[in-house]
Symmetry: C2
Subunit: 435 residues, 2 copies
Amino acid sequence: MAEKPLKIGMIGCGVVGTGVARLLLEQKSRLNAKARRELSLVRVAVRDAGKSRDPSLAKIEFTPNWNEIVNDPSIDVVVELAGGVDWTRKAVLKALAAGKHVVTANKALLAIHGNEIFDAARKHQVCVAFEACVAGGIPIIGVLTQGLSANQITGLRGILNGTCNFILTAMSESGASYQEALKEAQTRGFAEADPSLDVNGTDTAHKLLILVQIAFGQTLQFEKVDRKGIDSLDSTDIRFAMELGYGIKLLAEAWLNEGRLTIHVSPVLVRGNSPLAQVRGAYNAIQVIGDAVGDTYYQGLGAGRMPTASSVVADLIDIAIGRAQNTFRSMKLWSAEQPTLALLDNSLVRSRYYLRLLVDDRPGVLAEVTSILAKHLISIASIIQHEAAAEGDTSRVQLVIMTHVSKCAAFLAAVKELGTLSFVTGNVVNYPVED
Amino acid sequence: MAEKPLKIGMIGCGVVGTGVARLLLEQKSRLNAKARRELSLVRVAVRDAGKSRDPSLAKIEFTPNWNEIVNDPSIDVVVELAGGVDWTRKAVLKALAAGKHVVTANKALLAIHGNEIFDAARKHQVCVAFEACVAGGIPIIGVLTQGLSANQITGLRGILNGTCNFILTAMSESGASYQEALKEAQTRGFAEADPSLDVNGTDTAHKLLILVQIAFGQTLQFEKVDRKGIDSLDSTDIRFAMELGYGIKLLAEAWLNEGRLTIHVSPVLVRGNSPLAQVRGAYNAIQVIGDAVGDTYYQGLGAGRMPTASSVVADLIDIAIGRAQNTFRSMKLWSAEQPTLALLDNSLVRSRYYLRLLVDDRPGVLAEVTSILAKHLISIASIIQHEAAAEGDTSRVQLVIMTHVSKCAAFLAAVKELGTLSFVTGNVVNYPVED
C-alpha cells in the first residue's frame, strides 16, 4: 500500500450516504485492498449535524456547511448524495473548480446540468463518476462505457424506477388500485411522501437522458422526452393486459433507426414471458442491443441503501486506481465534441397498441369502432368484450382492442376520433405493446 | 487523435478472429473515436496463410508463423484466438516477455496456466485482458472487476456454455433425445464435430475457475471442480422436470459459506419461472450475489463470432486508453498474494434433490424406497409414479422423488443403497434442485 490515501468528503448522509459511510467504515480492509490505497472518509456535510444517526457512523466528523467539504484542500474526491439541482449544482461546480473529483448519484443534476458540470471537470482536469445515477446496483454505466464499447448501441429499454415497478407489481399481483399500491409502497419505504417525480416518469426520463448520453453520445433536453407516468394507470388495464398474456411496465426506451433516435417513457404492455415483464418489486432491469454483441440484459436492485452505495463505492475504487479518470478523458460526455443525431418524430414510430373504451352496450357499436380503425389502416390483432353481468343489462361495457403494428400518427388520429363518439364514455385509454 | 496508433497482432483467425478483424476494419472510425487513437491491425498468424478467407479480410497481412507476431517490435498487443494450451501458452509467454499486452479468449489457457501467465505479465509490466473468456458478449469480467468491486461476492451461478444450453433447450422444447439435439446443434453450427469438452462440462469448469479467480481471488486446480456434464442426460428427466415445473440447465456454481467455498458444475433442476430456467438456445446468463448489491443478473449471447469479438475489441479499447493496465495492476489475479479460502467438502453441502428410479411395478416397492430415504433423514417433497399403460401390465415404472433440503452425504448414501435393491433396474438418476 505505497500510495497515499484517497481522502473523501461527502455531501448528504441520508439513505444512500449512510450506506456509503458504513461500507467505507465497516469494510475498510477489503476496500483498501481493492483500491490499493486507503479510502479515507474525512468529513460529511449534512443539513443538521446534531441529528442522532446510525450508531455505526459515530466516528464520522459531521459539518452543517458543505463549503467545509469543497474548500478542504486535503480532500481528493467529493461524493454528492444530497440530491436536488440548485445548491448541489453550485457545490459540485465548486468542488470541480477546487480540483476535486466528484462521485454523484444525482441523476437530475446530470440530466439537466450535464454540459456545465462535465465542461467544468474537463477544464479542471478532474473526473465525474456516476454509476449510481442509473439503476442503483446494476453496473450499467460501466457496461455501456466499457464492456460494450466496441458496439454501436442500436437500442435500449429498461425499468429504471423501483418505486413505479413496486407499485405496478402490487397492482398486478394483488389487484390493488393505484392509490392502494402507492400507499403500500410508502408504508414499506419504496415511495417517498411526495412520490410525484417517480410516478409521473420524471425520474425515469432523467435516467434515460443519462443512458442516451453514453449509448448514443447525445445531449437531449428533458422537454424532448415524450413522457407518460403511471399516475393515471387504471387497474382495469392491468387486469385486461394479464388476460391478454401481458404485464404493464413503465419503460424508458431509446432506439436508433436509420440514424435517427426515438425516445420515450411510457407504461408499455410487455409480453408476460419476456424477462422485463417478470421483473418484480424494487428491481430494475435494462435490455441493451449492440450491433456486434446482439441482445444483452441486466437486472438488479434499482434503489435502496446498500445497492446504490455499492455503485458509489465502486466509483471511488475506480478513482483510487485511476480507471475513472481514463474513462472520463476518453469519453467526452456532455461535450460540444459530439455529433448530433436527429430525433425521429414519435408520430412516425410504428408500434402495436392496446386500446380500451368504455362503450354503451347496444347494436352497432363494434361496427362503428372497427370501421374507424379500418379507415386509419389500423389492423386488429385481438379483441375482448366480456358480456354484461346479465342479459338485458344495459349498462356500459369495456371494449379492449390490440392492434397489429401501426403508425403512431394514424393510431393517435383514430384514438382522437373514437373519443368523439357519442357511445364512448371518458378517455380512450391507450398504451404501446411490445414483446 | 494525438496519441500514436495501438499496433495489434493477432494469432488465429477462425470464427472469433474473423469477427475481430472485421470489426477493426469495418468500424475503424467508430472504434478509433472510442479508443482515442488508431487501432491498427498489423498482421495475423494463421495455420494456413494461403487459405481463401472472408473477402472483407482481403487487406490483412497473413503469416503462417506466430513468431512474426510476438517478435515484431512494432506490435503493442497480441490477440490470441488460436485456442489450445500447448504452443499458444508459449506464444503468449513470448509475447509478454517481449513487452506486449495480451488479449485472449482462451479460457482453458488461463484456467490451467493462469499463474504462469499472470506472473510473466507482472514481471514484464504488461497486462492480460480476457473479457471474451467467459460468456462471450456478456461483460461479466468487467462487472466483477469493477462494477461490483465494493462487494464481497457471496455466490454466483450461471449458464456458461452455449452448446450445452442449445442442446438442453432443444431437448426440452421438441422432446428430442440427447443424440438428436446434439446432431441438430452440430448442423446449425452450435456444436463442434468433437463436442466432448463442451458437453462433459470441461469448458464450463474452465470458465468457472476464471470467475472464481476474480470473484473470490482463488486459484483452484481443475481437478478440484466437482463436474458432471450433460452427455449422460436422459430426455426422460427433462420431461419429468417439466412436469414438476422445472427446467434442467447445466450450471456452474460457486458459493461462499462461512469462509468456505463450494463449487461444482452439474445439470441442475431450476424452477421454471426463474430467469435461468428461461435462458434459451445459445444464450448464457450469470447470477451474481454481492453482500452490498444483493442479487444481480446478466444475460447475453455466450458464443459466436460477433458477440465474442465485441468483448475482444472492448479489451483492445481498454488497453488503448490505459484502463486495462489499471485493472491489471490493481487486481493481482493468479498471484501468490491471494489468501487461500478453504474448499467446503461437497458432501457437506445441503440441497434439494431429484431422484429417478426404474422399479418393478409390484407391492412393497414404494414402502422400501421411502423407508431407506427416511433412514437417511431425507424428507420427501413430492413424488410421481404414473400408472402403467394398462391394468395388469407388469412392466417396470419410473418412480420420481423430489426431496426437501438434505445433506449431500446422506443423500448420496441413500442413492447408493437404493441402487442395490433387487427391484431397481439401472442407475439411480439424481440431480440437485434449485430455485
